[in-house]
């Protein structure tokens, strides 16, 4: 190897070392949100209504508000997480997320036809959340419900859309 080539290789090696020394921490820094949850809290069952206030068989839209939620550096209190439909069935209550599993639009209740309808792409669901028609890949997402002392508690969660499997985001 000539002296010139050797010096050239040395320049390349030093430049590469500088690049690596800077690139490795840069990548670790940038990829932080891919490895850690940056928005969290509010996943626990939250009191949303009294059982007595729910009419039997008729869906009622409820806003789920978390007492506390962390969004990166901010600690919010009384944060709206999302909406859900509560359907009372005697002494039991079903909670269905208002987020359409197809593309994430807000599912509405169509009283004349007695079905849930997504206004974006016309997916239709029964009062139990089963898919009746339309492009939605799965039924409406059921949320965990707890009944405690005549109160209804819902654990609100967001799920991946456009997927047959119901997976939390």
């Amino acid at each position: 190897m000539t002296r010139r080539r050797l010096l050239g290789a040395l320049v390349g090696a030093v430049a590469t070392a500088i690049g690596v020394a800077l690139a490795v921490p840069a990548m670790a820094f940038l990829s932080y949100p891919a490895r850690r949850r940056t928005v969290y809290g509010g996943g626990e069952p939250i009191d949303v209504a009294s059982l007595a206030s729910l009419p039997d068989g008729k869906p009622v839209r409820i806003v789920v508000t978390a007492p506390e939620r962390r969004d990166a550096w901010t600690r919010f209190t009384h944060v709206t997480l999302g909406g859900c439909w509560l359907v009372r069935d005697g002494g039991d209550v079903r909670a269905l997320s208002t987020v359409c599993p197809h593309a994430g639009c807000a599912v509405d209740w169509d009283a004349p036809t007695g079905a849930f309808v997504c206004p974006c792409h016309d997916s239709r669901f029964s009062t139990t959340g089963e898919r009746l028609s339309g492009p939605s890949p799965r039924p409406m997402d059921a949320l965990a419900v707890e009944l405690h002392g005549g109160r209804v508690r819902v654990a609100w969660q967001r799920f991946k859309t456009a997927s047959v499997k119901k997976e939390p985001v």
Binding site: L7, G8, V11, V14, A26, S31, Y32, R35, F76
Partner: protein, 549 residues
């Protein structure tokens, strides 16, 4: 692929041409400063871009987002530290580059324009530094930049207008941050890039200036390239070392316009800071604007100076700056008040960062201190209790004193004068208790017995003696001590008096049968007014008075 690209762009031949650029007099270490500066600017651009992914420029989010990236984000402290040490490194390299250019005579004809471009670049580097350290919206950035913008406001004719435009209005706030952020991340980088391109283009047009005339020249590749890249590696190594040694750039407590903060600028502005001490009152604008303008004018005119004279001028400026910095350092070292303030600011910064781990309330900034249990309970006291009780000098005297509540000293004094204004004297109904008769050891024994109801270290023999005195003096005619029976005329049951549970019960409902029953005058603090945590914290705060430190 590379060949395909080369055929269409000619990148390899451009690189070859660059490598063949002759270096007059041969490769030299003295030529490395420009390259080192270019690399430092690149590091600043990259780390700045990384930081921008996590930074939110508003008065409610700036400090919180910087605290988050500093504490939570992987290697956030390192990236921010590199950005901060890179700023210092740029100032150092600018000074070295300036000195080298002057000593080597590279400022003279035909390179005058490039010299002036270099001066503009130097001013831009300082503008970067000035706009950058406000962005964390911490105490240091906030107060030090206040000084800078106030001085800017003293510019003749346009000062006030300029200050208001740059700081986004008359007062510091959201628009100050968005303006400084736009300057720091868009306008200044864009301007600097343009000037650097022209500066390098002109440098290549004229070539480097050898110290002495020498016939031999060498191509840039690989001899000068190796020196340049080695210098770059040293610069990067120094930056890493500096950051690792200090664990990143400091972040002070959130900006607090109400605080008494003794502001000091970054080290590169300290000479100017010190200079202002010698220009008091109306002369201040001479120090703040006149002296820097004069230095700028002399440097602008430098191409007319000989190498010896120019070197003397630059060394005088750099030496003067170093001297002023030393004087400032000496003044601070002798200033006891400053040192105390500094220690307080450091403690505040440490506490604020610890509390930020719990999440910063939406009000941002100093609201982080609301996470402090001590501060929160003091706030609860001020809003719920201070209307009637005094604790540590805060509150109004309408109900019993809570400073040192139920300590032995408090009980002794209380038993001697229960109807004093600082105890029950200003209540409406609770006046039935008479001063106790025992004095001296007997009073101490009675106090020890009452104190023992709340637990803690006690003298058992004294407690036993106190109980006999309690019975002998017929205290039990009004008070019970069994934890079950209601007293007479609102006399509380003394069982457990002073325990946390007893105090919590009193806060929740002072009208309970074991407290003041129908003689109670204190509002009931149910769950709608105070949470369980708040009541427990208040009970701890009050109970802490039993055993004064």
């Amino acid at each position: 692929m590379l060949k395909w690209l080369d055929e269409r762009t000619g990148w390899s031949s451009a690189l070859v041409r660059l490598g063949q650029t002759p270096v007059p007099g041969g490769a030299r270490w003295s030529y490395v400063f420009g390259s080192a500066l270019a690399l430092t600017f690149l590091v600043q651009a990259v780390t700045g871009l990384l930081l921008a992914n996590f930074y939110a420029p508003s008065s409610t989010t700036a400090w919180a987002s910087v605290a988050y990236l500093q504490r939570e984000v992987t290697l956030g402290w390192l990236i921010r530290g590199l950005h901060s040490s890179g700023a210092s490194m740029m100032v150092v390299l600018v000074a070295l580059h300036l000195l080298q250019v002057v000593v080597w005579g590279a400022y003279r004809a035909p390179r005058e324009v490039n010299w002036w471009l270099g001066l503009v670049l130097m001013a831009l580097v300082f503008a970067f530094a000035l706009t950058g350290y406000l962005l964390p919206w911490d105490q240091k950035g906030f107060w030090a930049t206040q000084v800078a913008t106030s001085l800017l406001g003293e510019t003749p004719l346009v000062g006030d207008w300029l200050r208001r435009v740059i700081q986004g209005g008359g007062d510091y706030g959201n628009l100050t941050l968005t303006h400084f952020y736009a300057l720091h991340t868009i306008l200044l980088p864009g301007t600097l890039t343009v000037f650097v391109v022209v500066h390098v283009r002109l440098m290549r047009r004229h070539g480097v200036t050898p110290l002495r005339a020498s016939g031999d020249s060498q191509p840039f590749w690989p001899h000068q390239a190796l020196r340049d890249v080695t210098a770059m590696a040293i610069v990067v190594a120094i930056m890493f070392f500096s950051v690792l040694r200090t664990h990143g750039a400091p972040l002070e407590a959130p900006a607090d316009p109400s605080s008494a903060y003794d502001a000091r600028p970054e080290w590169y502005f300290v000479p100017l800071f010190q200079l202002l001490k010698y220009f008091p009152g109306r002369l201040e604008s001479i120090g703040a604007l006149g002296v820097p303008s004069l230095i700028g004018a002399v440097l602008f005119a430098l191409p007319r100076f000989s190498r010896r004279a120019a070197a003397a001028v630059v060394l005088t400026i750099l030496g003067g700056a170093a001297g002023l910095s030393l004087l400032a350092h000496r003044d601070d070292a002798r200033n006891e008040g400053y040192r105390r303030g500094r220690a307080r600011a450091d403690a505040d910064a440490k506490r604020a960062l610890e509390l930020a781990a719990l999440g910063v309330p939406p009000a941002g900034g100093t609201a982080v201190f609301d996470n402090d249990p001590e501060r929160r309970v003091r706030q609860s006291f001020e809003t719920r209790c201070a209307g009637c009780h005094v604790l540590d000098g805060v509150g109004e005297e309408r109900a019993p004193l809570l400073t040192g509540w139920s300590s032995r000293a408090w009980l002794t004094d209380f038993l001697k004068q229960p109807d004093a204004a600082k105890y029950f004297g200003k209540t409406k109904k609770l006046h039935g208790m008479k001063p106790v008769k025992p004095v001296g050891d007997e009073l101490n024994a009675l106090v020890e017995w009452i104190f023992a109801q709340g637990g803690g270290d006690v003298d058992a023999a004294l407690v036993a003696r106190g109980e006999t005195i309690w019975t002998r003096e017929s205290c039990d005619d009004c008070h019970s001590a069994d934890g079950k029976s209601e007293g007479v005329s609102g006399a509380p049951n003394l069982a457990g008096r002073g325990t946390l549970a007893w105090i919590e019960g009193l806060i929740r409902d002072g009208g309970g049968p074991l407290y003041f029953s129908d003689h109670n005058e204190m509002p009931r603090f149910g769950a709608d007014k105070l949470s369980d945590e708040d009541v427990a914290a208040l009970a701890r705060l009050i109970a802490a008075g039993r055993t004064p430190k």
